[in-house]
Amino acid sequence: MRLAWAFIRRDLLIAASYRANFLFALAGGVVTITAFYFLAKLIGPAPLLERYGADYFSFVLLGLAIASCLRTLQATFAQRVRESQVDGSLEVLLGAPLSTFRVVGYLAAYQVLASILKACGLVLLGAVAFGARLRINPWGFGATLLFAALPFGALGLLSAAVVLVFKRSDPITYVLDTANYLLCGVIYPVEVLPPPLQWFSKLLPATHALAALRAAALSSAPIQGLLPAWGILTAFALVLWPTAAAALAFARRHLEQTGTLPHG
C-alpha cells in the first residue's frame, strides 16, 4: 500500500501543479452533462428506457460516468506507460526492484482514482443540479464496479504491453473504445441496435458492466439480480488477466532483448 500511495501522491502533486488543466477537465464534464440535459428534454419520455426505470437524462448520465471510468481503466495504463517512455522516467522506474506488473499498475493508480471521483462528482451534480432520478443500491453498485474493473484493468494492462513494445500504437484501446461507445449502450440502449449487433454487443464486457451498474444505480437492483453480470465479468477477467500478465512479461522480455527500453 505504501508503494501505491507513493505513486498516487507523486501523480497527485504533478496534477495539482497543472491547475488550469484540472479546471478545464471539470468544466468539460459539466458542459457534457448540460448538453445531454437539453437533449433529454428534446427526446422526452422514451418507452425503450422503461425497463431501466429511468428517463433519458438519468440513463445517459450513468452511461457517460460509467463509460468514462471504464475507459480510464482500459486506456490509462497504456497512456501512462507512453508518457513515461516520452519523459524518460520509465527506464528508471523499471530499474527499481519491482515487477513490471506493479510498476505499470501503480503508474495508473492516480488516474483511475481520479476518474472514479470525477464520475461520482458528475453523477452527484446531475442528480442535485439537473434532477437525475437515481435509486441506488450502494453495495450492489460498489461491488459491480469492482467486478467491472477486473476485465477492464486487464484490458488496460494488455494495452500497456502493446505500447511497451510498439511505443505509439495502442490498437486495443482504440478498437474497444469505439466498440464500447457504438455497441454497448453508453448513450443509447442496446435494444435500438439491429439484432446481430445486439448479439455481438454481448461479447463485450462493457455491455454487461453498463447494464448491471445502471440496474444498481437507477432501479436499486438487488444483489441476486446482479449475480449473472458478476459471473460474466468474472469469466472475462479469468481469461483476460493471465493474457495480460503473459503479454506484460513478453513485452518486458522483448525490451530487454532488443534494448529498446530507453527509446521514446
Binding site: 505504501r2 508503494l3 500511495w5 507513493a6 505513486f7 501522491r9 507523486r10 502533486l13 504533478i14 501543479s17 497543472y18 519523459d87 524518460g88 522516467s89 527506464e91 528508471v92 522506474l93 523499471l94 530499474g95 527499481a96 526492484p97 519491482l98 515487477s99 522480455r253 530487454e256 532483448q257 532488443t258 534494448g259 527500453l261 530507453p262
Partner: protein, 252 residues
C-alpha cells in the same frame, strides 16, 4: 573471479537482431559486446572507456537488469543480474545515460521521497537519509526547489542523491559529468570518490574523458568494438586507449 568481488562479469556478449518487414530479409545481427569479463571490488572505482558504440552503455544496462545478455553471466553483490531479478536491482544504484527520472514539476525532496518508497524505505528512514545525503553533496538548498528550476550541475547532484538513497552496494554511472562545466564536473568527481567509493560501494562509470578517468579511476576497462581491449590501471591502459580513440576519430 575473486570471491569478494561486488561486480563479476564473465564472458558477457550481447547481440542485437535488427527486424525487417521485407519478406525473406535477414539483416545481419549486430554485436554490441563480445565475451567481456572483469570484476570490481568493494570501494573500487572502475572506469569504462571506449569510443561511441564500444558497448559501455550496453554493459551498464545489463548490470542494471534492464537488458538481457545473449551469452555469459554477470553478478552484482553475489546476485545474478538475470536469474535474481528484481532482487538484484535492490543492490544497484544506477544513473544511466540521459537520466530523466526526476519529475520536473516536483521538488527535489518530493522526488527523493518517491524514490525512497520505490526502494522500500519508510519515510522515517528516508527523511534523515535525504537530509544527510543533501548535506554531503552540498545540495541542502536544492531540496525545496522544483527540478525544472535546477541547473545541469544541480540536477546531476540530485540524480546522484537519488541513486544513493537506498545505499546500493554497486553504483553504475553513465557519463554523469557529460554536460557539466569543468568546475562542476570536478566537484562531482570529488564527491563520487569521497561519498560513494569512499563508503565501500563498487562504482562502475562510463566516460569519454580520459583526464576524468585518470583522476578518479582505480581500474579501467577499455572497450573497443564490443570487446574488452584492456583491463588494468590507467597507466597500463593509457597507450591502448589513446590508440583506440585516435583510430576511432580517424574512422569518423
Amino acid at each position: 573471479m575473486a570471491a569478494s568481488a561486488e561486480v563479476e562479469v564473465l564472458g558477457i556478449s550481447k547481440c542485437y537482431f535488427p527486424f525487417s518487414w521485407r519478406l525473406g530479409a535477414k539483416p545481419a545481427p549486430r554485436a554490441a559486446l563480445r565475451g567481456v569479463s572483469f570484476n570490481v571490488e568493494p570501494g573500487e572505482l572502475t572506469a569504462l572507456i571506449g569510443p561511441n558504440g564500444a558497448g559501455k552503455s550496453t554493459l551498464l544496462r545489463i548490470l542494471a537488469g534492464l537488458l538481457l545478455p545473449s551469452e555469459g553471466t554477470a553478478r552484482v553483490a553475489q546476485l545474478d543480474v538475470v536469474r535474481d531479478r528484481p532482487r538484484s536491482r535492490q543492490v544497484i544504484g544506477a544513473a544511466l545515460s540521459e537520466d530523466r527520472g526526476l519529475s520536473p514539476r516536483l521538488t527535489v525532496q518530493q522526488n527523493l521521497e518517491f524514490y525512497s518508497a520505490l526502494y522500500g524505505l519508510s519515510s522515517k528512514e528516508a527523511t534523515p537519509r535525504i537530509r544527510d545525503l543533501a548535506e554531503r553533496f552540498e545540495a541542502s538548498a536544492l531540496l525545496d526547489r522544483e527540478v525544472r528550476t535546477l541547473s545541469t550541475g544541480e540536477r546531476a547532484r540530485a540524480v546522484l542523491i537519488r541513486v544513493l538513497l537506498h545505499r546500493p552496494r554497486v553504483v553504475l554511472l553513465d557519463e554523469i559529468t557529460r554536460s557539466l562545466d569543468p568546475g562542476a564536473a570536478s566537484r562531482l568527481r570529488r564527491q563520487i570518490v569521497a561519498e560513494v567509493a569512499g563508503r565501500g560501494a563498487a562504482v562502475l562509470f562510463a566516460s569519454h574523458d580520459l583526464s576524468e578517468v585518470e583522476a578518479i579511476a582505480s581500474k579501467v576497462l577499455l572497450l573497443s568494438g564490443g570487446e574488452a581491449a584492456r583491463f588494468g590501471s590507467f597507466a597500463e591502459v593509457r597507450a591502448d586507449a589513446q590508440r583506440v580513440f585516435s583510430a576511432s576519430s580517424e574512422a569518423s
